[in-house]
C-alpha cells in the first residue's frame, strides 16, 4: 500500500486526536501528559458518560478507554460508541489491568480494536497508538478505494472473480466472485455461486463449446477472453465478457485464475445493430449486396475446396416499375417486402453465418451461407452454396416462380407480379463473383426478352443469341437508371443566312470510357422494346436542353427528337411532351419529332391520330430518310407533317451521279407543292452544299457544318464559328445568295 495518499499526508501534518477516558485523575493526567509529550492531541474525559457526550459532535482519530470505571465502564462505553453512526471503525484501545484475561476477552467482545495493559510505559503506549492509527488509516484508504472500485465496476457492469484449481486431493476448484461479479451474473451479494452453477446459465447451445474452451484454457494455462451468452436466473438474456489471467505459484505451477466478468450486452447489441445496418437491406431485412457478395465469395471458396458446385439465382421482378409508378412508392415497398418473405421461404435462409466454423474441413457450416438477398431495386439473389447439379438450382427457381404467381395485396389492391430468374452455376458458368453475377444477369435477361415469368440457366449460346449481344442488352437495360445516356446535337443550318435554325438530338451511350454510337444499340433497343424508355428519356432530356440553351444564348428554335413509330402509337405521347414542356417552361414548338419514312408507312394507320394531336399542340413532325421508303403521295398530301428530310444517300451522290440530283429535285418539288419544308442531310462538302442550294434546298445539316456534338460544344461552335462568320461555307453561302435564289422564310430567329 502506498503511504503517500492524501489522507495519510493530511493526518501526518496534523497531530492525531485522541480521546482519553479514565476515571482516575492521576492516571488521566499522567497519560495525557506523556502522550502530549509524544505529539498527540489529547482530550480528557473522566468517565464513559463524559466521553459519549464529547463524541456527540466530535470524532477523534482514536479512543483510549480505561476498562474499569464507575458508572459506565470501558466495555459499556465501547459498546455504546460502536453503535453510534460513524464510529463503527474508529480504533478503540482498551486499558486493562495486568493478568486480567477476562477483561481482555470482554474488551474484544465490546468491539475494542486492541487492549493495552496499564503501566507507566508511555513509549509503548504511544507506539501502540501509532500502530492503531496507521492501521486505521490504511483501512480507511482501502475502504475508499474499494468503494471507488465498486462504483467503477458497477458503472461498467463489471465484477471480479478468483478461481482456485482443485487441490491434489481432487476437491473441486473453488470460485470466489466479488459482490459486483455476483450482480453481473444476476445474483445477490451473499449468494454462493459455483462454476457449475454458472455454466448452467450459459445457453444450452453454447454450453459445450464454452466448456471446451475453458478446459482448453485451463489445460494450457493460457489467457481467457471470451463472450458468453447467458440466461440469468431472472430470465434476462445477457452477454457476459469473461477475461482472466492464470496465476502461478513459486514453482511455476498454475494455481488458478483471476479475472473479471462484464455485462457487454448493450455494447454487443449496438455492434450487432451496426453490423446489421451495414449488411442487411433496411426495407426487407434481407442480406444486402455487400453481405451477398461476401457470402458468395465464401461459398465459392468452400465449393472450390470441397469440389462441389454452387448456384446463384438472379431474380428480377417483371412489371415492378409499372406497379411502382401507378400505385406509388409505398405500395412498391409493400410489394417488395411481401416478395422478400415469399422468396425466403424458397431456400433454407440463414440470417447469420457461423463464421468461425467455415474454415473447418468437412464442416457443413457453409450451408449457413444459403440465403435470399436483395441486390437493390427489384433485383434479388438466391444463393445456394451447395447443389448436386443444375437440376437442384432449377427446382429452387421453379419454386420461386410458383410462389410469385399468387396475387400480392398492396395498397388494398391485388397485383400480379411475376419474376424472371437467371441461374449461373459455379464453376461451369464462372469462377468469380463478378462473372457469375454477370452470367446470371445474362440468363435472367434472356428470360425477360422471351416473355418473362420463367427461368433460364446460363449458357454461352442462350436461345441462339450471342453472348455479347445479351450482355449489351442487359447493360442497356440499366443505362437509363445509371445515367449513362447522353444526347448530342447536330445543328441545322439555313445557308442563305448562314444561321442555325434548329438541332437534331442524337443519342449516345456513355458506357464506361466508350461512347457507343446509336447504330450499335438503337436496333437492339428497338428489338427488345427498350426503345420506349429510351425515347421517353430523350424527349425529357431534349426539353431540358432547350431550356438550358434558351437561358444561355436565347435559343428559340426546335430540338428535333427521333422517335420510333411505336412511340407514336402510345396514347400518352402528347401528354409526355406537354408535361416535359411544362416542367422546363418551354413552348411545345421547341420540341420537334422525326419519324423515318419506313416507320411511318409501316404503321401509318396507328400513327396518324398522334400526328393530328401533335399538330394541335404545335409540335412539328419531320419525315426522316425521305426517299428511301415507299411513300404514297396520296397519303403525304393528307398527313399533318411539316418537313421532309432528304436521305443522306442522295445528298452524298449529288454532283457525282446525275440520277441523284434528279431525285433530289423531285423531292424538293414534292415538298414545295405540299408546302413542306425540306432539308438535306449528310452534307459534307461545299460542292454538295452548292448543288443542294442551287436545286432549291437551303436548309441543311452535315459534317460540313458540324458533326453531332455535346451541348456545351455546340454553344462554343456557335460562338467561335457561326457568329464571327469564320467558316468556309459561310462565304460560299453568301455568294450563293447573291446568285439570286428566292429567299424562303423560316420561323424562328436565325443564328
Amino acid at each position: 500500500m502506498t503511504p503517500a495518499l492524501p489522507l495519510a499526508d493530511e493526518l501526518a501534518a496534523k497531530p492525531p486526536e485522541v480521546l482519553l477516558v479514565d476515571d482516575d485523575e492521576v492516571n488521566l493526567l499522567l497519560t495525557a501528559v506523556a502522550l502530549r509529550e509524544r505529539g498527540f492531541d489529547i482530550t480528557e474525559a473522566g468517565g464513559g458518560e463524559h466521553a459519549l457526550q464529547l463524541l456527540a459532535d466530535w470524532a477523534p482519530d482514536i479512543i483510549v478507554l480505561d476498562a474499569m470505571m464507575p458508572g459506565l465502564d470501558g466495555f459499556a462505553t465501547c459498546r455504546r460508541l460502536r453503535a453510534m453512526p460513524g464510529f463503527e471503525n474508529v480504533p478503540v484501545l482498551m486499558l486493562t489491568g495486568l493478568d486480567d484475561d477476562a477483561s481482555i476477552t470482554r474488551a474484544y467482545q465490546a468491539g475494542a480494536t486492541d487492549f493495552f495493559v496499564k503501566a507507566n510505559q508511555w513509549s509503548l503506549l504511544a507506539g501502540r497508538l501509532q500502530y492503531l492509527l496507521r492501521a486505521s488509516r490504511t483501512r480507511i484508504e482501502l475502504e475508499r478505494s474499494q468503494a471507488k472500485l465498486a462504483r467503477a465496476q458497477d458503472l461498467a457492469r463489471m465484477g471480479s472473480f478468483d478461481w482456485r484449481r482443485a487441490g491434489a486431493a481432487g476437491s473441486g476448484g473453488s470460485l470466489m466472485l466479488s459482490a459486483q461479479g455476483l450482480r453481473v451474473l444476476g445474483h445477490g451479494p451473499g449468494d454462493h455461486v459455483s462454476l457449475r452453477g454458472i455454466l448452467r446459465l450459459v445457453q444450452r447451445a453454447e454450453r459445450r463449446s464454452v466448456l471446451r474452451l475453458l478446459q482448453g484454457v485451463a489445460q494450457h494455462s493460457s489467457v481467457l477472453a471470451t463472450d458468453v451468452p447467458v440466461a440469468l436466473p431472472d430470465g434476462r438474456q445477457r452477454i457476459i465478457h469473461v477475461e482472466a489471467e492464470p496465476e502461478f505459484n513459486e514453482h511455476g505451477h498454475s494455481v488458478g485464475y483471476t479475472g473479471i466478468v462484464q455485462d457487454v450486452t448493450d455494447r454487443r447489441v449496438a455492434e450487432d445493430r451496426i453490423r446489421h445496418l451495414a449488411n442487411f437491406d433496411s426495407l426487407t431485412g434481407l442480406p444486402n449486396r455487400r453481405q451477398l457478395v461476401w457470402r458468395m465469395e465464401r461459398a465459392i471458396e468452400h465449393a472450390r475446396r470441397l469440389g462441389h458446385p454452387c448456384a446463384f439465382l438472379l431474380i428480377d421482378l417483371d412489371r415492378f416499375k409499372i406497379i411502382n409508378d401507378t400505385l406509388g412508392h409505398a405500395a412498391g415497398d409493400e410489394l417488395l417486402m411481401e416478395v422478400a418473405l415469399r422468396l425466403r421461404a424458397c431456400v433454407r435462409h440463414s440470417e447469420q453465418v457461423t463464421e468461425g466454423a467455415l474454415e473447418a474441413v468437412g464442416s457443413r457450416a457453409h450451408r449457413t451461407l444459403e440465403a435470399v438477398g436483395r441486390l437493390g431495386g427489384d433485383e434479388f439473389i438466391a444463393l445456394l452454396p451447395e447443389i448436386g447439379d443444375e437440376r437442384d438450382a432449377q427446382r429452387v427457381a421453379d419454386r420461386i416462380l410458383e410462389v410469385m404467381r399468387d396475387p400480392v395485396l398492396v395498397g388494398g389492391q391485388e397485383c400480379f407480379v411475376t419474376a424472371s430468374v437467371g441461374i449461373a452455376i459455379f464453376p461451369r458458368d464462372g469462377t468469380s463473383v463478378a462473372d457469375l453475377m454477370r452470367n446470371s444477369d445474362v440468363a435472367m435477361y434472356s428470360v425477360k426478352s422471351q416473355g418473362k415469368d420463367a427461368s433460364a440457366v446460363y449458357s454461352p449460346q442462350l436461345a441462339g443469341r450471342g453472348r455479347e449481344k445479351l450482355e449489351l442488352e442487359s447493360a442497356l437495360h440499366k443505362a437509363i437508371e445509371r445515367d449513362e445516356l447522353v444526347l448530342h446535337y447536330q445543328p441545322m443550318i439555313d445557308v442563305r443566312s448562314a444561321r442555325m435554325v434548329g438541332a437534331e438530338a442524337l443519342m449516345r451511350w456513355q458506357r464506361g470510357n466508350m461512347l457507343v454510337p446509336p447504330g450499335d444499340f438503337i436496333p437492339l433497343a428497338e428489338e427488345s422494346g427498350l426503345i420506349l424508355p429510351l425515347s421517353e428519356w430523350a424527349l425529357r432530356e431534349a426539353a431540358r436542353q432547350a431550356r438550358l440553351w434558351k437561358n444561355s444564348f436565347g435559343f428559340d428554335n426546335a430540338i428535333s427528337v427521333n422517335l420510333p413509330s411505336r412511340m407514336f402509337e402510345r396514347s400518352d405521347l402528347v401528354d409526355q411532351i406537354h408535361q416535359n414542356a411544362l416542367s422546363y417552361g418551354i413552348p411545345h414548338r421547341m420540341i420537334q419529332l422525326e419519324i423515318t419514312e419506313t416507320g411511318l408507312m409501316k404503321e401509318l394507320q396507328s400513327v396518324i391520330p398522334a400526328l393530328h394531336q401533335l399538330k394541335e399542340i404545335d409540335v412539328e413532325v419531320a419525315i426522316d430518310d425521305f426517299g428511301t421508303g415507299y411513300s404514297s403521295l396520296a397519303y403525304l398530301t393528307t398527313l399533318p407533317i411539316s418537313e421532309l428530310k432528304i436521305d443522306r444517300s442522295f445528298v452524298r451522290d449529288l454532283g457525282v451521279t446525275p440520277q441523284s440530283s434528279g431525285i433530289v429535285t423531285a423531292i424538293i418539288a414534292v415538298a414545295r407543292s405540299l408546302n413542306l419544308r425540306v432539308i438535306g442531310e449528310g452534307v459534307e462538302t461545299l460542292r454538295q452544299m452548292e448543288v443542294l442550294h442551287r436545286l432549291g434546298c437551303s436548309l441543311m445539316q452535315g459534317f460540313l457544318f458540324s458533326r453531332p456534338i455535346a451541348p456545351d460544344d455546340l454553344e462554343l461552335w456557335l460562338k467561335q464559328t457561326v457568329l464571327p462568320r469564320r467558316a468556309p461555307w459561310i462565304g460560299q453561302a453568301n455568294e450563293l445568295d447573291v446568285g439570286g435564289l428566292a429567299p424562303r422564310a423560316l420561323g424562328g430567329r436565325p443564328f
Partner: protein
C-alpha cells in the same frame, strides 16, 4: 520548588522509604524543565484522590460493598504505582485480587494495612508539595 529537584542525594530523603525514587524520576522526566509543573500537578491529583479514596474504601467495607472496594483498590493500585508508592500499590493489588477471586476473608486486616500505608504515602506526598 520541589525537593525532588535536588535529587540525587547521598542520603536518601525521608520520603524515599515510601515513594520509589526511580518512579518519581520517571515523573520528573515527563517535564524535565518543570515548565508544566507536571510532577506537582500529578502529586496534587494523587493527594486529592488518596484523601477521597481511603475513607471510601473503609466505608465500602463497612457496608459490605465489595464492588466499590474493588474499584477503589483498582484505581489506587495504578495511580499509586505511577507516583512510586509501590507498597501501597501492592496492598491495593492484593485486595483487588482477593475480591476478584471472591476471597472475602481477611479483608479488614488488609484494609487496615492499606490505611496505614496510605497515611504514610499521604505524608510523604505532602512533604514533597510546596505549601
Amino acid at each position: 520548588m520541589l525537593a525532588m529537584s535536588h535529587a540525587p542525594q547521598t542520603q536518601p530523603p525521608a520520603f524515599a522509604s515510601v515513594l520509589d525514587p526511580a518512579s518519581l524520576q520517571r515523573l520528573h522526566e515527563l517535564d524535565p524543565e518543570g515548565a508544566n509543573r507536571v510532577v506537582e500537578r500529578v502529586l496534587r491529583a494523587f493527594e486529592t484522590s488518596l484523601t477521597r479514596l481511603l475513607p471510601q474504601a473503609s466505608q465500602a467495607l463497612a457496608q459490605g460493598d465489595h464492588e466499590m472496594l474493588r474499584h477503589v483498590a483498582h484505581t489506587l493500585k495504578s495511580s499509586s504505582a505511577s507516583v512510586g508508592a509501590l507498597e501501597l500499590s501492592r496492598c491495593c493489588s492484593e485486595i483487588e485480587n482477593r475480591l476478584r477471586q471472591m476471597q472475602f476473608d481477611g479483608l479488614a486486616e488488609r484494609l487496615a494495612r492499606l490505611n496505614a500505608e496510605g497515611g504514610r504515602v499521604l505524608a510523604a506526598v505532602r512533604s514533597l508539595l510546596p505549601d
